[in-house]
């Protein structure tokens, strides 16, 4: 039997599969179907310093090969998350990655300061797709210099390993990855959703603008993982359009050490456990004893 467990920032993860931030509730929502302890790690919904109400509806819309969401980062805030939801993961002994965001640099720093190290917290995941209010709403993650500065400061504040989650809507994602690396980032999560819109031809209007996720995002995410993992020597989590175990394996081969699954769970709520099982089956069938034998194999 192959082992698909891995060590990630010094913590043992059962398998390389996580949920993507914002796609598995706050904590126990999936429990009537399967338990969060099934995951390599649970990634929290995007959390901010203060509670955030999010956008009016419509917030979701589907397309032939994916979906658009405009949730607007609704969340109860870091404090309530740790009071109300974190104990659940402690009870279940499930490793957690804390996704967070801010609308100003100070908010990111305050978030990072608030989150105390815990043996279950594997890493912080900074969502850099968030609009920077002081820069006229352009997202932090678009400019290498901004990324360098904010990563440097966050790294100076927290002892917890930090992942930067990057937006694909940039001139060259490798430049962004390099800037984060030079600032001392511990790893990257690639990629966030792509800006998109829907046109309703009957009503002749745009009912929703938001972030696109799902199968159409996969080749774009694979390219980002492939290029960035060659360019920077830190672990990468691949995310975007993963629907089955073959998709997950392709991310590992492109250079990702772990993967996250988002929209697929809405199509099939058992997608994650099926993918975990499928990766194990793939490894067994191909005689690979551990995942290191396939991670980044396409680089050779």
């Amino acid at each position: 039997m192959a082992t698909i467990s891995l060590t990630f920032f010094g913590k043992r993860l059962k398998n390389p599969v996580m949920n993507a931030s914002g796609t598995l509730g706050y904590s126990n929502e999936i429990e009537s179907l399967w338990g969060v302890e099934t995951l390599g790690a649970y990634v929290t919904k995007g959390l901010s310093l203060r509670p955030h109400h999010g956008n009016p509806t419509p917030r979701v819309w589907d397309e032939r090969s994916g979906m658009i969401n405009s949730i607007g980062l609704q969340n109860v805030g870091i404090e309530r998350f740790f009071d109300e939801h974190f104990p659940f993961f402690q009870k279940k002994r499930t490793p957690v990655i804390v996704n967070f965001f801010g609308f100003t640099e100070e908010e990111y720093l305050d978030c990072a300061r608030r989150i105390k190290p815990d043996r279950l917290i594997v890493a912080l995941e900074m969502n850099l797709s968030c609009p920077n209010i002081k820069a006229g709403g352009i997202s932090f993650g678009k400019d290498p210099q901004t990324v360098y500065e904010i990563v440097k400061k966050v790294k100076g504040i927290t002892p917890i390993p930090v992942l930067a989650k990057l937006t694909p809507e940039v001139k060259n994602i490798v430049d962004i990855a390099r800037a984060a690396y030079e600032a001392g980032i511990d790893g990257l999560t690639l990629i966030n959703t792509m800006p998109a819109a829907i046109v309703d031809i009957k009503r002749k209007r745009v009912p929703i603008k938001g972030g696109f996720s799902g199968p159409a995002l996969k080749p774009i995410a694979l390219r980002a993982v492939y290029e960035c993992s060659k360019a920077v020597p830190v672990p990468i989590i691949g995310v975007g359009g993963i629907m089955d175990a073959d998709d997950a394996v392709s991310f590992l081969m492109a250079g990702a050490s772990a993967v996250q699954v988002g929209s697929a769970t809405f199509v099939d709520p058992y997608a994650i456990p099926k993918i975990i099982e499928g990766i194990g089956r793939y490894a067994d069938k191909n005689g690979c004893r551990n995942l290191h034998e396939i991670i980044g194999i396409t680089h050779e």
Binding site: G22, T23, I30, T57, V60, Q74, F266, D268
Partner: protein
């Protein structure tokens, strides 16, 4: 709640764009309460997300859904033929709470009846039903509750009261005077707002089944929210905290 394989038993056009779909489940679903719904996989590879539909009826592993064709998902759904395979995730959400009242008043219109049909069946004969639609042809939709003597409003006046269902209800409100009533409703936002206007003075208890676009159907994505008067956390998930809400908690 579980995700259950199912096959189409029949998928019948009732009238205009209304359909009745019966699905045979591979195993029984959990206990179904009126107002609960399922997330149905539309058997067409071009439809990415599932669609939420109220459980119109359920028994002996057969779940019945009544739907109106309004867009690409329901257009694809009406093409599903006998024996076609699909998946049914459910039962989902919190249904109606049946309380002890002198009279339960059900007000609905058009496809809204799909959301309250099981409730009407459960309430047996102590319910007062108001139904509105565009013309008498559309009454085919409520054929099996006709024996319950619903008060009917048609926009064209071809049957019952001519006008909308809330006006019809308003005209009959005095018959409920002095009685302890509770209203149950499901329908377009305009109708719900009108009901609210009529009962504002008395703050009559009223449970509303809301319909919002959904992605997951059980609390994962926060896509389906409705705005409430809770200042701390105004947006509640229709699929998890709902789909039935107390009218007086909603911010309409």
């Amino acid at each position: 709640m579980d995700d259950i394989e199912a096959r189409v038993v029949d998928n019948r056009n009732i009238v205009s764009n209304y359909f009745l779909l019966r699905l045979k489940l591979a195993k029984p679903m959990g206990i179904v309460r009126p107002g609960q719904f399922v997330m149905l996989k539309v058997p067409d590879k071009n439809i990415f997300l599932r669609r939420p539909f109220s459980i119109f009826d359920y028994g002996r592993d057969i779940v019945t859904i009544m739907y109106r064709v309004v867009g690409k998902g329901t257009e694809a759904l009406c093409k599903a033929g006998k024996n076609e395979k699909t998946l049914v995730l459910g039962p989902l959400g919190n249904g109606f709470t049946i309380t002890k009242r002198d009279v339960c008043v059900v007000i609905t219109g058009g496809i809204g009846v799909a959301g309250v049909h099981l409730l009407i069946k459960t309430l047996k004969h102590d319910a007062s039903i108001f139904y509105g639609c565009s013309s008498k042809e559309e009454l085919a939709v409520i054929k099996d509750i006709m024996e319950r003597n619903p008060a009917i409003a048609t926009l064209d006046g071809s049957r019952g009261f001519q006008g909308d269902v809330v006006t019809l209800f308003r005209n009959q409100m005095k018959t409920f005077k002095g009685k302890n009533i509770e209203i149950f409703t499901c329908g377009p936002e305009g109708m719900v707002k009108n009901i609210r206007k009529q009962i504002e003075k008395w703050k009559t208890p009223c449970q509303v089944l809301v319909e919002e676009r959904m992605a997951c159907g059980f609390g994962l994505c926060f896509g389906c929210v409705v705005k409430t008067i809770d200042e701390k956390e105004p947006y509640k998930r229709a699929c998890k905290e709902g789909p039935v809400f107390d009218l007086w908690q909603l911010s309409l």
